[in-house]
């Protein structure tokens, strides 16, 4: 095994590739040695599509207080988008399948249209598919959960033109329970987090977030820090 590895290594004679390999290995090793808290506190996520973004760069939110920092931004796990993606794929291929599907019932509805009309119908169909995909995407993208150094925030958009934002101060948090349920949750390591609070909304639910245990640990950490601070201080 060792000899094989050495042979492989000698074959990689490109110095740039070796350097990249070393850097990647070093980063991976560092991440492995890090605790969850260290990982969250030393990483600055620049990926705008991240579903688990520690200290996201270039992200703010409405009513953010001065000195308030986003520690963690969470979105629903990407696996939860699979049904929508499959539906969109079906919609994309439907115009190709429609003639043969109608042919099964010997219906020749499409033959009554001339080619110009068929092109217009197809354009309209793909516009609809784009609109549907865009709608699904923005709802996934903007339905986020934020953990800041002061609060836990749940930004919820339900349906068109319906917005709901809930805040709970860290010192109002009473209990946090992460739960991973089901095959997909266990396999892809995502789940729900239930946060009991003394705020106006008694329970916060983070749905389908990646790595719920790490998130719960981080909330505990932030709560501990907040309790150690004098009241009214934002740090």
């Amino acid at each position: 095994m060792r000899i094989r590895w050495r042979r492989f290594w000698l074959r990689v004679d490109n110095r740039g590739l070796r350097a990249k390999f070393f850097t990647l290995a070093l980063v991976w090793h560092k991440i492995r040695l890090m605790s969850a808290a260290d990982f969250i506190h030393t990483t600055f996520s620049k990926n705008p599509f991240a579903m688990f973004a520690p200290q996201p760069v270039g992200v703010h939110f409405e009513n953010q207080e001065s000195g308030e920092k986003i520690i963690l931004l969470l979105r629903a796990h990407i696996v939860t988008l699979v049904p929508s993606v499959l539906l969109i794929l079906l919609f994309i291929f439907l115009p190709f399948l429609a003639p043969s599907f109608l042919g099964i019932f010997r219906l020749q509805a499409l033959s009554v249209f001339d080619p110009r009309q068929l092109i217009l119908i197809t354009i309209f169909w793909y516009l609809f598919v784009f609109g549907f995909s865009f709608y699904k995407f923005i709802f996934w993208y903007f339905n986020v959960y934020l953990i800041t150094n002061e609060r836990v925030i749940d930004i919820d958009f339900r349906g068109i033109l319906h917005k709901e934002t809930s805040y709970a101060k860290l010192n109002q948090i009473q209990d946090i329970s992460p739960k991973i349920i089901g095959f997909f949750g266990t396999f892809f390591h995502y789940g729900n987090i239930y946060i009991q609070t003394a705020a106006e909304r008694p329970e916060f639910e983070f749905h389908n977030v990646e790595n719920p245990n790490m998130v719960a640990q981080e909330i505990h950490e932030q709560v501990r820090k907040e309790e150690a601070e004098p009241p009214g201080v934002i740090a």
Partner: protein, 79 residues
């Protein structure tokens, strides 16, 4: 009577093209309204959570309205 002929007679009686055009125009009008609502939604979302992707999303929503209106006009004019 073969089934193809029955199909043809049904489509002739109902004036299928007229029915399809009316349906498409109605649907396209609703779609333009939906596109405007989607733009408002994107603006609302971007105001709530500004990210580096917000300008691109707003741009896409505006383009979406433009294309929806263009398709409506095309259906009205050329269908």
């Amino acid at each position: 009577m073969p089934i193809e002929d029955i199909n043809a007679s049904i489509f002739e009686n109902f004036n299928f093209i007229f029915f399809a055009k009316s349906f498409l125009i109605l649907f396209a009008i609703f779609y333009v309204v939906f596109a405007f609502m989607l733009l408002r939604q994107v603006q609302l979302m971007c105001r709530t959570l500004p990210t580096s992707l917000s300008p691109l999303l707003k741009f896409l929503a505006i383009i979406h309205i433009g294309v929806a209106v263009a398709v409506l006009l095309l259906i009205l004019g050329f269908f």
